[in-house]
Subunit: 480 residues, 2 copies
């Protein structure tokens, strides 16, 4: 298809629906001569969910326009963001990302031949790259580095040095991935302008930058994959999709911050070129739109009602998800999913119930395998003659000074009361934890304090029979 497009047509395809493009002229010039090379990076942390269809639709545009697309799995960034996760887990997550993103792209019917997957650590720890990181840090001021990261690096009271390094690394990636342009959300803008400013000082070419608008999530305003239950996972069942869509914010006639409408605009239209709104026959029956603005107008005028819109998106979304669910029914991919994201199995399409509720299978990481008690956690470890170790769970936030608080059980608790994770009440703790399996270490990774100061494991509350486990002030803290 790309062969039949003119340079102008390719340019339009590459830039459509974007909020901003820096370096248009350069892009046009390259397109006169050869295909564009574009990169998009993602840190391999949380599980990709349906919001990833937004950048994927744009990547589909790039591929349709003949671009060579590189997808960077920023595993080094993921490691730095969450140093608690062992490398072995991060490796699995990179594999999961690759599989799921390929499945998404296959599902939306784009050719994969011009797509390249690269892992950050494949080159970001090389001598050459590292020297460039140092060279760059001898040119970039603290102030510039801070400014560049302001929108994407978590802003905290005691910012870490790593937050100042990320923007430079992302700039260097453009050179090391040998691309013409980097694609990302408009929240990356300041990193992009830092790259444009400093790459030439290192003797490297200034790259173009393609920026997607910030699109509200399908079921809420947040996009991050490390939050809320409400998000639709790529492997969610049809029932879950229906249930979650039902809760999505979508007021009659209100086209602002409407995640459902945005999904139609940024995913369904670019992919299909049309969208079918399901309506009961008595209201005129189904209607096929070929221009998004007409859907929007009809929704604004309440010709299309939230229920209709949601039902229509549900059908289209399930069409997108079905091939992904199918692919992930294979035993290898189910195993990969469970080991990359230990927790309640979300691939319920398969042997449903077999592992539900947190059984004790040696390979499954149910939090119920830990014998956590009020006043202590008992880690039963049979190593070097030490039969069991007990330790007190605390919340902590790294910084200067490191802040630590004990966890508070519900009022009226007695030492020894069993602590469980919501949904895993029934699980039985292992008699002993095999130290080689690192069960504690792997489960600990997902223990956190929520923004409401509640202790959680993968967004599920830690509880006793009397209620939640909390801490006083350390929102976002780790638990260990």
């Amino acid at each position: 298809m790309a062969d039949q497009l003119s340079a102008d047509e390719k340019f339009n395809l590459v830039t459509r629906n974007l909020q901003e493009v820096l370096g248009e002229e350069k892009l046009k010039q390259v397109l006169q001569e050869r295909e564009l090379k574009v990169y998009w990076g993602t840190a391999t942390t949380g599980k990709p969910h349906v919001a990833y269809f937004v950048p994927m639709s744009k990547i589909a545009d790039f591929l349709k326009a003949g671009c060579e697309v590189t997808i960077l799995f920023a595993d080094l960034h993921a490691f730095l963001d969450n140093m608690k996760a062992p490398w072995e887990l991060l490796e699995l997550r990179v594999k999961y990302y690759e599989q799921v993103i390929k499945a998404m792209l296959e599902s939306i019917g784009v050719p994969l031949e011009k797509l390249k997957f690269v892992k950050g650590t494949d080159y970001q720890l090389s001598r050459e790259y590292t020297l460039d990181v140092y060279r760059l840090s001898s040119m970039v001021t603290e102030h510039d580095a801070k400014k560049a990261g302001a929108e994407v690096v978590k802003q905290v009271d005691h910012p870490l040095l790593s937050g100042l390094l990320y923007p430079g690394l992302q700039a260097l990636d453009e050179e090391y991935l040998k691309v013409d342009a980097q694609f990302g959300g408009v929240d990356q803008r300041k990193i992009f302008t830092l790259a444009e400013k400093y790459l030439p000082s290192l003797g490297y070419a200034k790259r173009a930058h393609l920026m997607n608008p910030m699109v509200p999530g399908l079921t809420g305003a947040k996009m991050s994959s490390s939050e809320e239950e409400s998000k639709i996972d790529l492997l969610d069942s049809k029932e879950d999709v229906k249930k979650k869509l039902k809760k999505a914010f979508c007021e009659p006639g209100n086209i602002q911050n409407n995640g459902v409408l945005s999904f139609v605009k940024y995913v369904l239209f670019p992919l299909r070129g049309e969208f079918c709104v399901k309506k009961d026959a008595k209201w005129g029956g189904d209607k096929i739109y070929t221009v998004f603005e007409e859907v929007e107008k009809d929704f604004a005028e309440e010709v299309v009602h939230p229920g209709d819109l949601k039902a229509s998106v549900e059908v289209a979304l399930n069409q997108l998800l079905e091939p992904i669910r199918k692919k992930f029914e294979s035993p290898e991919l189910r195993k990969l999913t469970n080991s990359a994201y230990p927790g309640p199995s979300k691939t319920k399409t398969g042997a449903k119930g077999a592992k539900g509720g947190g059984g004790g299978g040696d390979d499954e990481l149910a939090p119920s395998r830990l014998d956590i008690r009020v006043g202590k956690i008992v880690k039963k470890i049979d190593m070097r003659g030490i039969e069991s170790q007990a330790m007190l769970l605390c919340a902590s936030i790294e910084g200067e000074p490191r802040r630590v608080e004990p966890l508070d059980p519900p009022d009226g608790s007695s030492p020894g009361d069993r602590v469980f994770v919501e949904g895993y009440e029934a699980g039985k703790a292992d008699d002993r934890l095999n130290p080689k399996k690192k069960v504690w270490e792997k489960l600990q990774v997902d223990l956190m304090i929520s923004d409401e100061c509640v202790a959680q494991w993968t967004d599920k509350q830690l509880m006793t029979k009397l209620g939640q486990i909390t801490c006083k002030t350390l929102k976002g803290g780790n638990i260990s």
Copy 2:
């Protein structure tokens, strides 16, 4: 000798004359079991001068106490400090440092078998080390990094990111050099405490720290090797030593900030165990002291006069320098000196005058080889048919924004007036500069704006017949 010392005696030798020791107990414990491993690092920038005898005497103590001593040539730091210097020049400087430091140690008669020389880039760009730099930067706050570098990183209006990285690198060096302790000036204290705080978080042992006091320079208060003419170079002739010592600050009876007395205390006594004060026979003749405090007391009471002290130090210093001068008379080392520090030859003991005043020998880098004129610099380059290029010299300081100012010739100058470097008035510019020799690049490295806003090349002023070349405000700026 070390074989005959008890652990206590070794400890006393290792720690004598130090201002502060962190981790004494650990040191004592190691000494009960085996020899200590200590490291000292130096960035391979300016030419080491006689002040380097201060750490060298301490290193002599370590070696006498049986320690395994590692000397780190921090070439990566040198590169980052002064990115204008090409690697090939830095390589030469590392070689020069190694030769001159070995010569110093030989001169003070210490065994070199337990001494190891390591170059920073031998391991600081490795995958493993780099990952640790990132891990560390995910634990160290910006605030801690800044605080740690406060006394050693140049404090400027627009601090660079690299300044925040140095302290962490220096901490990691302790682990990668596998030492028990790091030695340095007490100005390194905050870096040392950062290392003590964070190495354990990476799973590495906390090291001990040995801190020398800040010793005033022999001929002035400043210690940095990148400054003033007054400093005594290790290869200075006897006449130069006499001349420079004559100018040294040394008031009768004043024992504060007295660099000459400090040299006796921190270099001559530790090395010799005694010091001979030369006095005219009519004032009682020479007196041999075996305790420094007595020299100090006699000086305070004006029993010993500045002239006597200087003359006595001159004798002792020349004894230390003589073997170094001798060693550097070899053609290889003279060549190394000239190529590592292109500039007026300081090894005047050899073929004196042959290259004096900046001749045009193709391998010598006299600044007079450049045809610099008011209003322009003419770089005659015969490459790709372009016969000559002219460019305007400007002062600049990197930062946000980069600040640039043109250089100002003396009042009354006319375009085309010849600009020369003080001391090189007589030199003749090359007809053409061989581009492969990078004459301009190598000379440019040492072009700087002084703290008085005067343009300099290796501390010598850039002038026309009418006076100095200056700029308005960019103190410490580069010239290019």
